[in-house]
């Protein structure tokens, strides 16, 4: 085992603990946006694709990179967009207006 690997392992374990600590405080109300937000974070796989793209060669390498870039970017862009769309729906109770229209379904 190389030193680099042990260093990565250290970071992995610590990040896992930070994750458990931060996420166990998220209320059940927000579990769907949490999961979709976490989904966009794993879109960071795109960074890996960029690094790799600098060293691939030949048709197989190019096809793998193309697919991985498409997958990764769909993950990032779609994930953040849909999480934002969801979260903007979560509103506080509006201050009760004096004359609320009957059966308001706005």
């Amino acid at each position: 085992m190389t030193q680099g690997f042990v260093g990565d392992l250290t970071i992995f374990v610590l990040a896992l603990l930070v994750g458990f600590e931060v996420i166990s405080k998220v209320p059940a109300t927000l579990h769907t946006p949490l999961m979709s937000g976490a989904n966009s974070i794993h879109g960071v796989v795109l960074v890996g694709v960029v690094i790799l793209s600098a060293s691939v060669n030949g048709p197989i390498g190019y096809i793998l990179t193309f697919l991985a870039a498409a997958f990764g970017d769909a993950n990032v862009v779609g994930g953040y967009a849909v999480t934002d769309r969801m979260l903007q729906m979560f509103r506080k109770r509006p201050v009760p207006a004096a004359s609320k229209p009957e059966g308001a379904d706005s």
Partner: protein, 465 residues
């Protein structure tokens, strides 16, 4: 290390910090949106930094840029389009698809890395093998889960000898993995590993029933995170490792919460079991005990003269797309000065927290959406509990040992002074047993489709002076 390298690394650190703080801000609906935007900004910084890094490195040929940019543009456009268009009831499918592409990308990274540089240390080879295995299982498993959620086929499928095939594939994957770690440089062995992983993913999700979907999605989410973290090991990139670990932790926590809320162990769900189908198909109000049926007008009167109403929505509500009618009814009741709140069971819906999103979409303010532990003591004070499309999670039998729902955490609906249940028939839920709540003397059944029943209730409530 040059100043440029340092700048790139600091930018990556900034990104990782933004991910953690973004998740932290998710602990309240008031700050969650800002958290997501912070996380997105962190992602942007991270990606720009790595683009600058490879550009500066001078090894990017025109072809490499073209391949990368074309892939990213197409993927980004597809992702954005689906994010804009998806209906909130279809969120579980979309999340599954994002799990699939994330896991798939991690798998492809391991393959491409192996293709150009097979001579790596044993530690990295181990991570690469795990990347291929977990990424492959996630990719195929998530696609099957998405197809099931979309309703292409909702019944659990058990292939004859499925377990035997799974075992054989697992053995093949382990053998191939050991070979790769031991330093075999053979594309065929890697191919065996990929095929085995894809097969395991399919066979794992196929036999799982619809009711267990919240657990499966959470588990696949945890898998995706782990696969990305493994890709970080392969590329020796800390950002990938950190982000992957965060997602792995999030998916792990949600998996445990969901399994606990259904009173099931993750292992028994994966092995297939009672989420496996609608056993009870008894139709009509006849099953066990005496059931009191109620007319719409009487139910409306009961609601209109209550002072505290707790609504208990279940997946039936979402399936009937009746959340807007429910909101309209609640608005009418609130206009009469009635206190209305919503009791949300953790597994209401098809993914963790799904019901909250559906109700938020229907403009229900989030302070009315109450979690199980929080609302349960309040049922004692409720004049009416209105159950719409929820079944097993309200069954008082869960408090007794010796039946299919024993020990399952439930909403204390039977503690309310009276109960109205909107339901199409007496058919049992996924657990396949009768719900004792329905035969409780203070329960009245309003036999109707959720959407139609609520619309009629709205009309009738408007008539009440």
């Amino acid at each position: 290390m040059s100043g440029f390298d340092n700048a790139v690394r600091l930018a990556s650190l900034l990104g990782a910090v933004a991910f953690v703080l973004g998740l932290h801000l998710m602990n309240s609906p008031a700050t969650a949106r800002r958290g997501n935007q912070l996380s997105a900004a962190g992602m942007l910084v991270t990606v720009v930094a790595v683009l600058a890094e490879v550009g500066h490195g001078g090894s990017m040929s025109a072809t490499r840029w073209l391949v990368l940019i074309c892939g990213a543009l197409i993927g980004g456009a597809v992702g954005l389009y689906s994010a804009r268009k998806v209906a909130m009831t279809q969120m579980p499918q979309l999340v599954s698809l994002f799990n699939a592409v994330g896991g798939g990308a991690a798998l492809l990274i391991a393959l491409a890395d192996y293709q150009h540089d097979p001579h790596v240390s044993a530690g990295v080879a181990l991570a690469g093998t795990l990347d291929v295995l977990i990424g492959g299982v996630t990719f195929s498993g998530s696609l099957v889960a998405a197809a099931k959620l979309q309703g292409y086929w909702s019944q659990p499928v058990s292939l004859p000898g499925g377990r035997f095939i799974s075992a054989a594939l697992t053995l093949a994957a382990i053998a191939a993995g050991i070979d790769v770690i031991a330093g075999a440089h053979n594309a065929w062995i890697l191919l065996i590993e990929v095929v085995a992983a894809l097969g395991i993913g399919i066979l794992m999700v196929l036999p799982i029933g619809g009711a267990d979907m919240p657990v499966v999605i959470s588990l696949l989410n945890a898998f995706t995170g782990t696969a990305v973290a493994m890709a970080g090991f392969v590329l020796q990139n800390a950002t990938l490792t950190i982000a992957g670990a965060l997602v792995g932790a999030s998916g792990g926590i949600l998996t445990k919460l969901m399994a606990d809320a259904m009173n099931r162990s993750v292992v028994s769900i994966i092995a297939g079991g009672f989420g496996t189908g609608a056993t009870g198909v008894a139709a009509g109000p006849s099953a066990g005990g005496s059931v009191k049926s109620v007319a719409v007008d009487d139910a409306a009167l009961q609601l209109a003269y209550a002072s505290k109403v707790i609504v208990v929505p279940g997946y039936g509500l979402a399936a009937a797309q009746a959340q807007h009618e429910l909101r309209e009814l609640a608005a009418l009741l609130e206009d009469r000065g009635i206190e209305v709140s919503y009791a949300i069971h953790p597994v209401a819906g098809r993914m963790p927290g799904h019901m909250n999103v559906l109700l938020a979409e229907a403009n229900v303010p989030y302070d009315q959406l109450r979690e199980m532990e929080d609302i349960n003591p309040e049922f004692d004070r409720a004049d009416v509990a209105l159950v719409v499309g929820a079944n097993d999670v309200t069954n008082p039998a869960a408090r007794r040992p010796g039946n299919a729902v024993s020990g399952m955490p439930i909403l204390d609906v039977d503690h309310a002074k009276s109960v109205i249940v909107i339901k199409r028939s007496m058919a049992s839920g996924y657990a396949g047993i009768d719900n004792e709540l329905y035969t409780d003397p203070k329960t009245s059944m309003l036999f109707s489709d959720a959407k139609k029943g609520l619309a009629q209730l709205v009309a009738a409530t408007k008539q009440v002076a």
